[in-house]
Amino acid sequence: MNFLVDLEGFEGPMDLLLSLAREQKVDLMEISILELANQYLDFVNELDSRDIEIAADYLVMAAWLAYLKSKLLLPNEEEEPGAEEMAAILAFRLRRLEAMRDAGNNLMNRNRIGEKVFRRGMPENSVTIRNYTQKDSMFDLIKSYSEIRNRNYVVNWSPKALPILSMEEAKNRLESMIGISLEWTNFLDFLPNSKDSSETAIAYRRSSAASIFSVSLEMSKQGKIEINQNKNFGSIRIKYKESEEIKDNKEISA
């Protein structure tokens, strides 16, 4: 036998076995497994004698085949599984591998796309036309508008200062004016003088009246002025009281 081939060309022990089996030049159905085992072992020994490194799985197969060979030569019916059966399984596996190898080659020789037959070279892709339906409703529109107005109202609206006479101003005014009016005087006469009949002026007069009246009550409580009113809804009059107060205080202390 010619062992010029090393293991480089084989894809594992099954591949090697299959190629050795082909050397028997018989149908795999009728192959002699005993002979095949011998071929394999010879092959491996030959490589070994030439110091060629042998991969572990080839050695495992060699060991298994050596075991199979010994069983085939010395049949022992009590052992399980039997040697014949083991040989049949190996033969089956070789046939199966060969079948798949042949099938692969047959596939590659078919009328393959891009080699012997061709598909459409310039496919036309479909164009998608997108239609959108706007879902915005009337409510969205007016709600949006209202939100803008509400939002910006809070931020930007500054109320106009109302025309008022503050309590502070009213007190100053009354204190400075009461000193020169020792007679009973209608409290309305202490209001800022205005003939203006505009809405603003009227509002200011109302505010002044309220302020002056409040201040006069306060000053009366402090005993600085006297207040009198002759009848319900009559004019409210005030006058300065300081001198009498002082006199009273003197009388009490005396």
Binding site: F118, R119, R120, G121, M122, E124, N125, S126, V127, T128, I129, R130, N131, Y132, T133, Q134, K135, D136, S137, M138, D140, L141, I142, K143, S144, Y145, S146, E147, I148, R149, N150, R151, N152, Y153, V155, N156, W157
Partner: protein
């Protein structure tokens, strides 16, 4: 282009098979094919022009047609069947918040300039927003305001009325109605509408109204 093994020029191919070959080549090619390329696959004595004419006839009235592009040939879907290459997709969408706000301001204040819209919104209006609304054909340019810079004014379109199911722009709820609907704060002053708003009888004519500065302050 590669010349095929087997010296095709000498091959014995009857004219029907010649026709089949150029049909197959044109079908499979990813680019338009010229006569020279076709003839490379045919016997030397093949009559290319005649074959192409025959092929054109064969596809007359079929789903595909042989078209000449420059001096090259391609198969294309017959133009009357272009609809089969179209797919339509329908989906619903809504305007962005910026867009609906801008639209609502234009609706209530038209004709309105961009500056006016920004003043009312309190935020600047991006150029895309106006473009979007114009593209949707909901707003249009109404004219120019006669103020320095002559800015464009915008108003709503017929399409806008149709979409929002309004007969005319005055059918939009007014301030009082918005308040009664609870949308507008009750304490908002009643004079929120600028004077140049939709309260004007003829929307088309208010184009040249001077901006009311007071109303802008609100």
């Amino acid at each position: 282009m590669r010349k095929q093994a087997g010296n095709i020029g000498d091959i014995n191919l009857d004219s029907n098979n010649q026709l089949r070959v150029i049909e197959a080549i044109l079908f499979a090619s990813s680019d338009p094919v010229d006569k020279k390329t076709l003839s490379e696959k045919l016997p030397n004595d093949a009559d290319i022009d005649n074959l192409i004419a025959k092929l054109e006839d064969l596809y007359e009235g079929r789903g595909m047609e042989l078209k000449k592009v420059g001096n090259k040939y391609i198969f294309k879907t017959s133009s009357d069947l272009s609809f089969i290459m179209q797919r339509e997709s329908n989906s619903q969408r809504k305007l962005s918040r910026a867009a609906i706000e801008t639209l609502s301001i234009i609706a209530y204040h038209q004709p309105a300039t961009r500056a006016e819209i920004e003043e009312i919104r309190g935020v600047s209006v991006s150029p895309g927003t106006i473009d979007t609304l114009m593209q949707m054909n909901w707003i249009k340019i109404k004219g120019r305001r006669k103020v320095p810079g002559n800015p464009l004014t915008y108003g709503t379109t017929e399409e806008f009325l149709v979409h929002f199911d309004l007969e005319c722009i005055k059918d939009l709820p007014d301030m009082r109605e918005l308040k009664s609907m609870g949308l507008l704060d009750n304490n908002l002053p009643p004079d929120l509408y600028p004077e140049n708003s939709i309260n004007d009888d003829n929307v088309a004519q208010i184009d040249d109204i001077t901006i009311n500065e007071e109303s802008g302050e609100l």
